[in-house]
């Protein structure tokens, strides 16, 4: 089935289709970045989706929400339904479980995913999602973009694509998540606010994320063997490994240890000076 449609993807390996179709992908956030990801995953041939977003389409989304139209805004269509329509339009037999809420309000299905795409707002949200992914040994691919002003200079557009692989460096190991940025966000009571968002950087970041996922599953390049932390410079039009990687001494994670996997259970306090 779909031989004609996918015959140009044969370079991905003899059993690429089985590997892609067997995977259960979780999409957390179906806004500017997540909608791109949903579209591309469907084009590639992914079959099993679990998708979360509690928002509906608004007029301010139409500059970047892939698959949305003006009728969706009038009808206050949930972003999950827009994504479902997008995916089903390309794969009628796709299995899509949609959750019209934050993933935190219905987290159990997320734990059953083989990989998670995170397109969430804010650093605290990223920390929470990564904590769950690490606890249940699920690779997480995070994308995000931002535009900020610096005095009279032109705005600076940036973004990231991070593959957080269980056992490997986490976003804190990479310095992307740290107390400073979390504190700054906390000062605003965690509200990431209406940040500038446009369609083209989302497309670049989402495409990279999907490419990473396909390589992870098919191993078609046979060269994906290390942490991925890509830095996007929207002013220069570049996406390249973050400079911090050259200073990364450890390839294992010091923040999420093996003792933290699985459903949380109480740690026994032993009678010694050291509690582990």
């Amino acid at each position: 089935m779909f031989e004609e449609r996918f015959n140009r993807q044969s370079f991905l390996g003899a059993d690429w289709q089985q590997r892609i179709e067997n995977a259960i992908v979780g999409l957390v956030g179906l806004g500017g970045g997540g909608s791109h990801i949903a579209q591309q995953l469907a084009h590639v041939g992914f079959l099993n989706y679990r998708i979360w977003d509690g928002d509906v389409a608004e007029d301010s989304n139409l500059n970047r929400l892939i698959g949305a139209n003006e009728n969706d805004v009038e009808n206050e269509a949930p972003k999950t339904e827009i994504a479902r329509r997008l995916i089903n339009g390309l794969r009628r037999n796709a299995n899509i479980a949609a959750y019209n809420c934050k993933w935190q309000d219905d987290p159990e299905p997320l734990r059953g995913c083989d990989m998670i795409f995170g397109s969430v707002d804010g650093f605290a949200q990223r920390r929470e999602l990564e904590a769950c992914a690490r606890r249940y040994l699920i690779p997480l691919i995070d994308i995000g973009m931002d535009v900020h002003s610096i005095g009279d200079e032109p705005p600076r557009m940036g973004g990231q694509v991070i593959l957080s692989m269980p056992g490997g460096p986490c976003m804190s190991c990479l310095g992307f998540l740290n107390e400073r940025v979390l504190a700054q966000e906390g000062e605003r009571y965690g509200d990431a606010g209406p940040r500038p968002q446009v369609v083209w950087p989302n497309g670049i970041l989402a495409s990279s994320a999907v490419g990473i996922a396909v390589d992870l599953l098919t191993d078609w390049t046979r060269s994906l063997r290390d942490v991925i932390y890509l830095e996007y410079d929207g002013n220069k039009g570049t996406l390249k490994p973050h400079g911090r990687l050259q200073y990364l001494e450890r390839r294992s994670c010091i923040h999420y240890t093996v003792e933290q996997i699985g459903d949380p259970s109480a740690m026994t306090v032993v009678d010694s000076a050291t509690v582990q």
């Binding site: 590997r19 067997n22 995977a23 159990e108 299905p109 734990r111 059953g112 083989d114 990989m115 606890r135 249940y136 040994l137 699920i138 690779p139 692989m165 269980p166 056992g167 390589d215 992870l216 599953l217 098919t218 191993d219 994906l224 063997r225 290390d226 093996v258 003792e259 996997i261 699985g262 459903d263 259970s265 026994t268």
Partner: protein, 164 residues
């Protein structure tokens, strides 16, 4: 049900089990595991650490690939008590593709698993069999006397490999 093992752990186990032994034809070990998502309809077993059986705990028995003594079982039970995790008996068939438990595995290993379940009835225990690139498992969930056979095992790492 789902089981997940980090590729680094999978390869470490394979490497350890590939070592030769003076009297045994093959090596065995134990892998600790924690249950996740247990209250949902989709629990997942998450493998943590490997505990090789010590050299001196193998019995010289030419009729078996590997036979371990009661000390090995006791030490395994102690791991369960110390870690609060479940434990899976593990060994390896050195070939590519999906491995299969032998009739001896299916006859004898469940008794080992029973001992582990006594040590901690609140976690999943079982038997894990690796090949060079895949693995299968039988899982005894808390409160159930029958193992679950039909499992989906993911080797998490580069690449990500899902075996069903």
């Amino acid at each position: 049900m789902q089981l997940r093992i980090l590729r680094a752990l999978y390869e470490r186990i394979n490497e350890d089990l590939a070592r030769s032994h003076e009297v045994a034809f093959e090596r065995v070990g134990f892998v600790s595991a924690k249950l996740g998502n247990r209250h949902s309809g989709e629990p997942v077993v998450l493998f943590a650490n490997h505990y090789p059986v010590a050299d001196q705990n193998y019995i010289d028995d030419p009729s078996a690939g590997a036979r371990i003594n009661s000390d090995a079982i006791r030490e395994a039970m102690q791991v369960v008590l110390d870690t609060g995790m479940g434990l899976f008996h593990v060994h390896c068939h050195a070939h590519r593709g999906r491995p299969g438990f032998s009739s001896m595995d299916l006859d004898e290993t469940p008794d080992v698993v029973s001992s582990l379940r006594v040590a901690n009835p609140n976690e999943a225990h079982g038997m894990l069999l690796l090949s060079n690139d895949e693995c299968i498992a039988h899982v005894w969930m808390p409160g159930s006397n029958e193992p679950v056979f039909d499992n989906r095992i993911t080797i998490v790492g580069y690449p990500l490999r899902i075996t069903m």
